[in-house]
Symmetry: C2
Subunit: 339 residues, 2 copies
Amino acid sequence: MLDERKLEVLRAIVQDYVGTEEPVGSKALVDRHNLGVSPATIRNDMATLEEEGYIAQPHTSAGRIPTDKGYRLFVDRLASVKPLSTPERRAIRSFLENAVDLDDVVTRTVRLLAQLTRQVAIVQYPSLTRSTVRHVELLSLGPSRLMLILITDTGRVEQRHLATPGEVGEALLGDLRARLNAAVVGQPFKEVPRLVEELPLAFEEAERPNVAAVLSTLLETLVEQTEERIILGGTANLTRFGHDFPLTIRPVLEALEEQVVLLRLLGEASESGMIVRIGHENKAHEGLASTSVVAVGYGSGDEAVAKLGVVGPTRMDYPGTMGAVRAVARYVGQILAES
Amino acid sequence: MLDERKLEVLRAIVQDYVGTEEPVGSKALVDRHNLGVSPATIRNDMATLEEEGYIAQPHTSAGRIPTDKGYRLFVDRLASVKPLSTPERRAIRSFLENAVDLDDVVTRTVRLLAQLTRQVAIVQYPSLTRSTVRHVELLSLGPSRLMLILITDTGRVEQRHLATPGEVGEALLGDLRARLNAAVVGQPFKEVPRLVEELPLAFEEAERPNVAAVLSTLLETLVEQTEERIILGGTANLTRFGHDFPLTIRPVLEALEEQVVLLRLLGEASESGMIVRIGHENKAHEGLASTSVVAVGYGSGDEAVAKLGVVGPTRMDYPGTMGAVRAVARYVGQILAES
DNA sequence: ATTGGCACTCCGCTCGGTAGAGTGCCAGGC
DNA sequence: GCCTGGCACTCTACCGAGCGGAGTGCCAAT
């Protein structure tokens, strides 16, 4: 069905359309790419491509534009990730290196991605699922009020207040703090529930309710923080979306305001596998039917700790975007590993 | 110059224009408001108002729309803040009450404001300037690596890593922790530099560089955190901005991405004084020349700890917006005070 | 000071005509 | 059998003219 030249034609259509944002016709194609055949031949190829659903005409007697299916084929078989230029890499590196803390790293990353891709950038904070505990701190705020602080190896700090059923003295608090840390420091989060299970038994019966209260708060914190925060940047780039604004941009903005949607968007991206979800493939929200998402995991070590990506019109420069996303993810991973 | 009726006419123009988004003419005015005079009279009044710069015509033979100056007069003299309805109040209260922590309060607030006003909401995290120190914690991460944690009375936790010039043993750490807390707990941030100034003198000469390192990190944290984080919501409401989209919305989105701009936007709002900045009065960013800002401070006690507000088109329902902003600020203050 | 009347202006809409781009198809050529 | 040039057809986007309507400004009358 699709011989070599037809694929070449599809590639050319995608490239031209992405560049010009206008439907591309047979004549323009042969002019801009040396395909070695005449417009009439291209027309036949285009007719085939249209039958197969890879391209479509907005109106009769207009040029063709790629369909989601067309972009999919393009991404899967016709395009390769475009590596960034050396100056670009250097710029990324130095921009990220100046970050002072985790928040700053994330903020800078989102800006960087938005600038580089000229699209909306999404960055998830390093997830705690893969993280390990660096320290747990307990502070007394009153006779039966405590503050629990959890510090992770990615530099995140979470804190919770809690009320204990009975009064908790400094001695008990110190003991608990020591035992708790002995049990969980250096351990991955998912191990923690198992590790603290028997901890109350080490204390006198009277104290166990208090200990239990602390532990349950700790576990709660772990669970809650597994769902991670996500930040956005470059929303102004949405204005370069299309010609028919309000209708296009509105649902996108709405969708992007919901954390749940953003989480789903980043979806199954992993560190090794970059995902590209195109148009209707995107089930996260109806508002995103005409957008594509490019996402990948990033990590401080060998495992992905979180994800980042961009959202843009289906008509986007996939090779370039994929290159930028991948490069940024790598550098962020490096920066995190160093700190 | 401006007798009672002319003011009434201006008020009517503002109200109608805000409602319909279309230039309002003399006939429509007398139809919709019982002014007791004829269109011709109104025309004369409108001519005066135009001469004085309160209203303008988009084109000859079109109706009039208020100018920034007109809105200013309207806000200052012709409108009063519209209180929310009881059900609305109840909804706000219950929505905010379910928040589990500070982050959640802020997130919910921004959503609430955006929904209520149908505009872009801006909420600043409770500022640390007015805050007091609840606790400072020091943890050892290695022989000469420490983690410093600062906990504020608004429930915020900030953390920093630092390297000390020499090794710091547990004994010294405990001592420093105790003295530091004794000096600063319960004190407002701005007092801290003075309070810790002489602290190194309490330690042996050999330890002072280490102590100094810790202190300078603490002060740095305080200063940095004085510039507060700000979050946005309801950007999708920008799409209801005007008819000529791309040009209008783009600069606004750009402006709103910069924290600095947002900070300046909230400007000199204080808890008592709500500010309304209209159109060109807004010096924060050129992109915001056709937007207005309504902002007010909110606080957990008697002093404002941070600010919140909304950004919308100059053509906005000022009384309603002001009412919503004020009400939300009050409730947030209450919630913070309770927790 | 207010009013009704009137002439005038200008916007926004619709309509018809046209130029241009692009297509599909067909018949002829390699 | 695939490619090509030619041709008729379609549809859009653009332009200009014409028209209706809304709104104004001015004036003379009350």
